[in-house]
Symmetry: D2
Subunit: 363 residues, 4 copies
């Protein structure tokens, strides 16, 4: 289904970096969900490039809701959000447009689209396309918060520097929701920023790990085959450029543990079933158990670096060299957080709608 | 879509551990693909429990192709494979059927199905259901091999012991295809088996990491949003019980690298575009680049262990203890390989069919 | 999606006329729906050929539920029903297997499946495949009846003879549910049977029109684009061999009416909104209005007739003649009723599950 | 899937009559299809209301392609077309907004969307939404014409007046492609227009029957279950407001014929298999046989009439009367043709893409 995702609610993205606009269509949303345009604007702001990690003033993307909202609430018909592209001077790209930027999609897009792809600024592969997802996500996030479900993501690691672990999950999650550079430890955050700046000076880039917690999700959501909650979340997350790995709960570390340590013992607490540890990240057999859903994403270093790199001219079929110009973030880990939160909210909203019916997410 | 997966070809699984049969329906296969029943039998044999890692003689599951095959070839209509359940004495399970086995799906299934689920032997959550996937996989694997595409998986790590890395990928992959305990280093394999036996004696279990290589896949397959090859493979793999993480190429290790090390430089070789390293696992921007697809799966330790564990009676809502009886593998990593290979083959077959049309996979 | 249909519940059919079995997988059914195997057997009996319209004793197809039912209720996992094929002597078909029976699918199947199709007895195109749909339908019909929704179909016309119109809809529908030769007027029924017998003697065949009423469906189901209730029902019905037309409410007759006659005036009755006429068949703008859903199906005369017919040998590409042998019903209109009822029930069950959630259809 | 339709190519519609814009997203189109904006404009013009059937000057809807087209050709990524709404003065509608217009979707929308629906001008149910479909259709129609596939639709009947039957199909189809009031007989057309004018004077409305022919479609397209060509076309057509019936080939008339008359005899002609008659409308067993696809649509009279009608206030639950004001076409049959052609082209393009692969429709 390509650019459409979801079973009960669907998300359709479109647009290219240097076309006239990008946007998103959300279908299947319950009628009667309040739309907070300021919140959408704020979420878009968090996703914006900020000159690397600098705090220089940036403006949010302008957006327009073209359909599906009336008198401040969803109508139940498709919600379309358009974000016009500005400053789309394509500049001098023609000279290098047949050179594959290493670890980018230039060559693979050429093999898929036979040269008809719009290559300006990365075209449909540009990170800019995720602005539509983030705008849509603001709506899902609000709707879930109304149901007591909260999503928080921090940079567990960035540029080799580790943030502190989650401690009081509820407090940590709420703290993270609106952070631009989402870390739990301010000290770690400062060190990360230092390393990012250093990478920039070295014309290089860095990556990191995002860790997401979703709290308040009821038990019993998901399917054994093939739509486990893990399957659906993973499917969504690998649409984020730069994500190359995902693990739930203790993930890869579980593979080194013995069963007697890895298993999460159940226990009653205040009349509710809980687990004493949460190594499985809130999911057993693909289905939520009512504990927080926990997962981590490996984000590779930004492929755009300013050193001379070896590559090919894929039209001529010749070896070549490429040296990128312009402005690129040496780190996109903190920006990927906005997309991860949006897609997490989407998946949970989609599954809840399937389980409890089309009106469930209304205010 | 629950128990059905795929866009152009679909795979539907059904059955419970102690019902009369389990099975699979494959729809959308090209007409004219040769069916080798012996190969299906062999792949089913590889998946069978073998008394842990022992070499004691086991028999393959019996299966019957009920539809979609005529005179040894697919007809183009749905292929249904039924695998009858044998030895389904349910025994004394009633006494403990309301106790949630830790890290199993008993509690989550109860929250989803309200007690109507068939709990005998894990019901629909039993690893046995994957036999249908493995049988179907044998067909996809054959069809891909006819097109020069091969899939090999080894235990990169098991019980804390590491296998050697891939070296000559073509040779390694072909060696692994039919291995029951798939390791590249015999020495590492022996040590793993020793550790698994030790875990069994300690009434405990172990996990590991599977690494899969798919060679011969053409460039240009996959979608930027939302059906990247990574999304589709990850979606499939999280249907395997025990898988809690996936990474492509260098995956989580990439998050610690700088861009200048992580980026895979392009180069021409014999008129073909290749990359000098393959840190991205053959995928750029969600689309294949013609290099081998590489991914690793984190498999948690078998949740069934023979120690007394703390848990709850989820019907009464009370704390309880559980001590499992019977036979369970202290390690399922090597058996999960069969399912990983089958699902890998399915995803590639599905994408190729979409790209090149419904007849593409015919002999 | 080919052999799978449905959004929230899915129905997958498989099998060939002369293979070992045919069957169906139903996925997405709520857990906790009672399964009445006698009712399934009875519905299968209604679908059986009976020597044209004779009352000679026939036996129901034998069937086996292989999965998804435990202790008499659905578990929430896929329900698979297998119906073994018996008496599949393929006889002398080889001599004529390359001759296209007029108005049958022999030639089109050949063009689609390139000769790999199983042609014995019509293969996957045989009316026999609908037995799986009818068996599944028995489950949906029961579940809907528990919610006060009833489906009745009569032969509005057959062999040129018209049945009486619906009068007291509730009474008529309940009368029709279990009729083998479903007519409201016994006199019309006798005349139809006479005409059918006459067609048989003339080595010819007849068609007719089925009219279905679904009562008790709540208002507000369906979508404006593209999943109107009309779209979903029509999609389902054109899977029945021989159906060449469908109309809702007054259908084609509406095209000759003026708006002031065609429009259904609304009125309150006992606190409920009703319409004074029901020319629109219970659907406005693609969405149910709470009035009975009414639709009619055009069923063409059985294509199997015993006269010499002109045709081609599609392998040789030559003109030819064909004269069918064996037993074929000169009329299948009454048998198509079983499939129409089953698919009607499926569509309504599917839409209700989407609207009210996965547990809605439980007892 | 609601507002998204299609398997290999998808069409997503959005917008409300009095919102800021309506539009469409087309995904899955081959890269390299030429886009002719003038053709899109012309097709939009044909769909426009023209003061009933008058020839008064109308302007085409303005539209903007926001994505998926670069240098005049499709890129292979989603094509989004936005059509801004103009003149959306909502006027005095508040006074009557709770009164259900008979045979319109006001009441059913209220039952579905609970009053959150945008009721101005019919909201998402307005015929205006089909402008997006028509714009998209212009692209599919061009792409098919490049492959030798042509679609023509005439008003077989309108206001009780019959057009002449198809005679030379190729010539007739090409003649119809760009007709605003599509009839084969000029005389019949004049009479229809007279009757429509008369209906307007009587504050009433009329309906009719559209007949569509699709020529040049290869044999072998479609599926026996559940995606017959008939199922897919019917599914699409019931998204057109006012369509209440569809029949393929001779359709309902077939139900009165005997098999020996209804069956289409096969014959070789110039090395190609043809049928002597085409009672089955080019489809056998759900699959195309290479003959022209023929189907007819029953279009009910426009529900908007200017007489006083009985209805209810669905918020108060009271009987009421309604008298519509403003401008409404007394006949929409000729306008529905634009949508029928667009959706026909979409379905064929979708099926061809599935069969022959994602690049098939490129120039």
């Amino acid at each position: 289904m390509k650019n459409t995702f979801g079973d009960n609610i669907t998300l359709t993205v479109f647009g290219e970096s240097h076309g006239s606009a990008i946007g998103v269509v959300i279908d299947g949303l319950a009628p009667g969900i309040s739309i907070d345009e300021e919140k959408i604007a704020y979420k878009l702001l968090l996703r914006r490039p900020s000159g690397g990690i600098s705090t220089s003033r940036v403006e949010a993307d302008k957006f327009k809701i073209e359909s599906g909202v009336y008198e401040g609430k969803t109508t139940g018909t498709p919600v379309t959000i358009i974000i016009p592209n500005e400053n789309t001077k394509s500049g001098d790209y023609k000279a290098t447009e047949n050179l594959a930027r290493p670890a980018h999609a230039d060559y693979t897009a050429y093999m898929k689209y036979h040269g008809f792809e719009d290559r300006r600024g990365g075209g449909h592969f540009s990170g800019r396309i995720t602005a539509g997802i983030v705008a849509a996500g603001a709506i899902f996030i609000s709707a879930l918060e109304n149901k007591g479900i909260y999503i928080g993501t921090h940079m567990k690691k960035c540029a080799g520097v580790s943030d502190r672990d989650f401690s009081d999950l509820t407090e940590d999650v709420k703290k993270l929701i609106n952070m631009r550079f989402p870390v739990l430890s301010g000290e770690a955050g400062s060190l990360m920023q230092e390393k990012i700046m250093q990478a920039r000076e070295e014309k290089d880039s860095v990556g990191g790990i995002l860790e997401t917690a979703i709290i308040g999700v009821p038990a019993g959501l998901g399917e054994p085959y093939f739509d486990s909650i893990e399957s659906k979340i993973a499917h969504a997350m690998f649409s984020i450029g730069g994500v190359k790995g995902i693990e739930f709960g203790k993930g890869f570390a579980l593979s080194d543990m013995v069963g007697s340590k890895a298993n999460d013992a159940f226990r009653m607490e205040n009349g509710k079933v809980i687990t004493e540890t949460n190594n499985n990240g809130g999911i057993n057999g693909g289905i939520t158990n009512g504990m927080p859903i926990l997962f981590s994403l490996a984000v590779k270093p930004t492929p755009s670096i300013f050193r001379v790199q070896k590559t090919v001219d894929f039209v001529k079929g010749e070896d070549a060299e490429i040296e990128l110009k312009g402005r690129h973030d040496p780190c996109i880990v903190h920006r990927a957080k906005s997309v991860a939160d949006a897609l997490s909210a989407f998946v949970i909203a989609d599954v809840l709608t399937g389980r409890y019916g089309t009106d469930y997410l209304a205010d």
